[in-house]
C-alpha cells in the first residue's frame, strides 16, 4: 500500500489539519508521500519533509497552484494518483473543494470525512449530522478519502527527513482565477485546534455582546466560536461557525453561551470532552449534551464567570 496526502498550506507553513490526515494514512499502513502544490512554496515543502514518517515530498511550485484553485490542483492529483492505493486530504474547505473533482476525473468514489480506519478498504464515516455512523467498504482501486481531523491525533511535525521530488503539472486550465481573500478571524486562537472554545448563539443578541465572550476567551487562552444562528444574524463572520456545515471541533472544554443546541450545532461540538451550557431556557436541547448546565441569564452569568477566572 502507498498513501499520498495532499498538503494544505499557505506556501509557508503546513496546516495542522494535514498532520491529522497523515495519522489516518499511518493507520492504513504503507508508504506515505506528500504533495505540496503552491507558488513559491519552498518553505512549506521544507516543513513537510520534517514530518515524521514521510518518504517523499512531491513539490509542484507554479503560479497556477498559488491559490489552490480546484481545477488545476485536481488535474495535478490525477496525474500522480495512479502511483498510490490511497489519496487523502483533510476534510477542510481546502480538501472538500478539490478532492471530489479529482475523484470524479479518476472515475472513483470519494469516502468523505472518515472518523475511523477499520482496514485498508473499510472506513467509518458520520452521516445525518453525526447522528449515525456508517461503516463503508470501498471497491475502487484507489481510495480517495477526506479525513475528519478531530478523530485522528496529529502526526509529529518534526523528526522526519523525507526526500524532495519536483514535479510539474499540466497547463493552467484558465477556468477560474483567484480575486481576493478576507480573513476575519486571524487575531484569535485557531478555532479548530483550540483546547477551549467559548461559543455564542442567538441569545447573544448582537455582535457587540461577543466582546464578553472574547474577554473570557482571552483569560482561558480559548477561541471564540458561534452557532449558525449567530452567524446568520450577522453577529460574527462565517469562520466562527461551529456545526454540521461549519467547523467540526472537539476541544477539551466547550462553553456554549445562549445556544439552544439545534441538531446542526451539536454535530459540530458534541465530541468535546467537557461541555458547559449557559442558557436561560431550561428546556434548551443543549442541556441534554452538557456535562455542566447553568440555567441563567447569560448577561449576568458571563460577566460573573469572567470575574471568577
Amino acid at each position: 500500500m502507498s498513501n499520498l496526502i495532499v498538503v494544505e498550506h499557505d506556501n509557508n507553513e503546513v496546516a495542522a489539519a494535514t498532520l491529522h490526515a497523515i495519522t489516518a494514512a499511518q493507520q492504513i499502513g504503507g508508504d506515505i508521500d506528500l504533495l505540496v502544490a503552491g507558488e513559491n512554496c519552498g518553505a512549506a515543502a521544507e516543513a513537510a519533509t520534517k514530518i515524521a514518517g514521510v518518504s517523499t515530498v512531491k513539490v509542484a511550485d507554479n503560479a497556477m497552484f498559488g491559490h489552490h484553485l480546484a481545477e488545476n490542483l485536481a488535474s495535478l492529483i490525477v496525474d500522480i494518483a495512479g502511483d498510490y492505493s490511497h489519496v487523502l486530504v483533510s476534510a477542510t474547505t481546502f480538501g472538500k473543494n478539490i478532492m471530489p473533482r479529482a475523484a470524479a476525473l479518476l472515475d472513483t468514489a470519494q469516502i468523505s470525512e472518515i472518523v475511523e480506519v477499520v482496514s485498508a478498504d473499510t472506513f467509518i464515516r458520520p452521516i445525518y449530522a453525526g447522528n449515525a455512523l456508517a461503516t463503508v467498504q470501498s471497491s475502487d482501486s484507489i481510495k480517495m478519502i477526506t479525513v475528519r481531523t478531530i478523530k485522528f491525533e496529529p502526526a509529529a511535525a518534526e523528526g522526519g527527513s523525507a526526500s524532495v521530488e519536483a514535479i510539474t503539472g499540466g497547463a493552467d486550465s484558465g477556468l477560474s482565477s483567484w480575486v481576493s481573500a478576507a480573513g476575519s478571524n486571524t487575531d484569535q486562537v485557531d478555532l479548530t485546534s483550540a483546547k477551549i472554545v467559548v461559543s455564542g448563539g442567538r441569545g447573544m443578541q448582537n455582535g457587540d455582546n461577543f466582546a464578553m465572550l472574547h474577554s473570557v476567551a482571552d483569560k482561558l487562552g480559548a477561541a471564540v466560536g458561534a452557532s449558525r444562528a449567530a452567524v446568520d444574524s450577522g453577529f460574527v463572520p462565517n469562520d466562527f461557525q461551529v456545526g454540521q456545515t461549519g467547523k467540526v471541533i472537539a476541544p477539551d472544554l466547550y462553553i456554549a453561551v445562549g445556544i439552544s443546541g439545534a441538531i446542526q450545532h451539536l454535530a459540530g461540538m458534541k465530541e468535546s470532552k467537557v461541555i458547559v451550557a449557559i442558557n436561560n431556557d431550561s428546556e434548551a436541547p443543549i442541556f441534554q449534551v452538557a456535562d455542566y448546565g447553568l440555567v441563567a441569564d447569560l448577561f449576568d452569568a458571563v460577566p460573573e464567570f469572567d470575574a471568577a477566572l
Partner: protein
C-alpha cells in the same frame, strides 16, 4: 440563459435521524421529508437571477422514485419553470449522481448549474465538484455571494479562514452555502400553479450509464451517547467544578 438546479429529497433537518434496529441504515419510513435546505438556496438564487433578467428558464432536476416528484413540485411551486425526474429505486452515490446530472446537463445545455454544497443526509459534499469535473467546467463551491457578468461568475466562497473571492468562467457548476439568500415561502396559488407545470420522467436505465455503487455499507449504527450531566446552581459552583472536578481550566 438557462439554469439547471439540482435538488435532493432528504429527511427534514428538524427531525433526528433514527438508526434501524438491524443496522442497515436510517429509518425513513413515514419520516417527514423535505427539499435539502442548501438546494432550496440554490433554487432561490436561480429564481432571483431570472427576476434580474440574467436567466430566462429554470429547470429543477432530481433523482429518485415515488415521492421525489413531491420535492420537484415544491421546486415548481417556488418558481422553477419545469422539472426533470430521473426515476430509479436505487440509492446512488455522489459519483453516479454526478454522471446522471452530466447526462441531463448535456441534454439541457444550461449556462449554469446550481446545487447545494452538501445534502444533509449523506453529508458527502461531493456532487457539484464531481459534476464540474465530468463536464470539464469551472467550479465555485460553498458560495455565499454570486454575481454574473458576461461569461464570468464572481463568487464569494465561505472557507475555513473566512471568505475567498474567485472568478469562474461560465458555464460553471456552483455549489451554494446557506447564507447566499433566504429562500421564499411558497404560497397556495403557487402550489396550484405548480401542478400544471411540466415534469419529464426519465428512466435511469434509458441513460445507459454505469451507476453501480462503489461502496458497500456494512453497517449503520448510533454513535455513543453522552452521559447525562448535572445542572449547577451558580457561577461559582460552575467554576469550582471546572477547576476541581473536570480540571479543564
Amino acid at each position: 440563459m438557462k439554469i439547471l438546479v439540482c435538488v435532493k429529497r432528504v429527511l427534514d433537518p428538524q427531525v433526528k435521524a433514527r438508526v434501524k434496529a438491524d443496522g442497515s441504515g436510517v429509518d425513513l419510513a413515514n419520516a417527514k421529508m423535505t427539499m435539502n435546505p442548501f438546494d432550496e438556496n440554490a433554487l432561490e438564487e436561480a429564481l432571483r437571477l431570472r427576476e434580474a433578467g440574467t436567466a430566462e428558464e429554470i429547470v429543477v432536476v432530481s433523482i429518485g422514485a415515488g415521492k421525489t416528484e413531491e420535492t420537484l413540485r415544491h421546486g415548481l411551486a417556488m418558481g422553477a419553470d419545469r422539472a426533470i425526474n430521473v426515476v430509479t429505486e436505487d440509492v446512488l452515490e455522489p459519483l453516479a449522481i454526478a454522471k446522471v446530472l452530466k447526462a441531463i446537463t448535456d441534454q439541457e445545455a444550461p449556462g449554469l448549474v446550481l446545487a447545494g454544497k452538501q445534502a444533509i443526509d449523506d453529508d458527502s459534499n461531493q456532487t457539484a465538484q464531481m459534476l464540474a469535473a465530468l463536464l470539464g467546467w469551472s467550479q465555485g463551491t460553498f458560495v455565499s455571494d454570486l454575481k454574473i457578468e458576461g461569461d464570468t461568475a464572481t463568487t464569494i466562497r465561505e472557507v475555513d479562514s473566512g471568505l475567498e473571492t474567485i472568478a469562474v468562467k461560465m458555464p460553471a457548476v456552483i455549489s451554494v452555502d446557506l447564507r447566499l439568500n433566504e429562500p421564499r415561502y411558497v404560497k397556495l396559488p403557487d402550489v396550484m400553479k405548480a401542478k400544471r407545470k411540466p415534469m419529464d420522467k426519465i428512466e435511469l436505465e434509458s441513460l445507459g450509464l454505469d451507476t453501480a455503487n462503489r461502496m458497500t455499507t456494512l453497517k449503520v449504527e448510533e454513535p455513543e451517547g453522552r452521559a447525562a450531566g448535572i445542572i449547577v446552581e451558580s457561577v461559582s459552583e460552575l467554576v469550582e467544578k471546572l477547576r476541581n472536578e473536570a480540571k479543564v481550566i
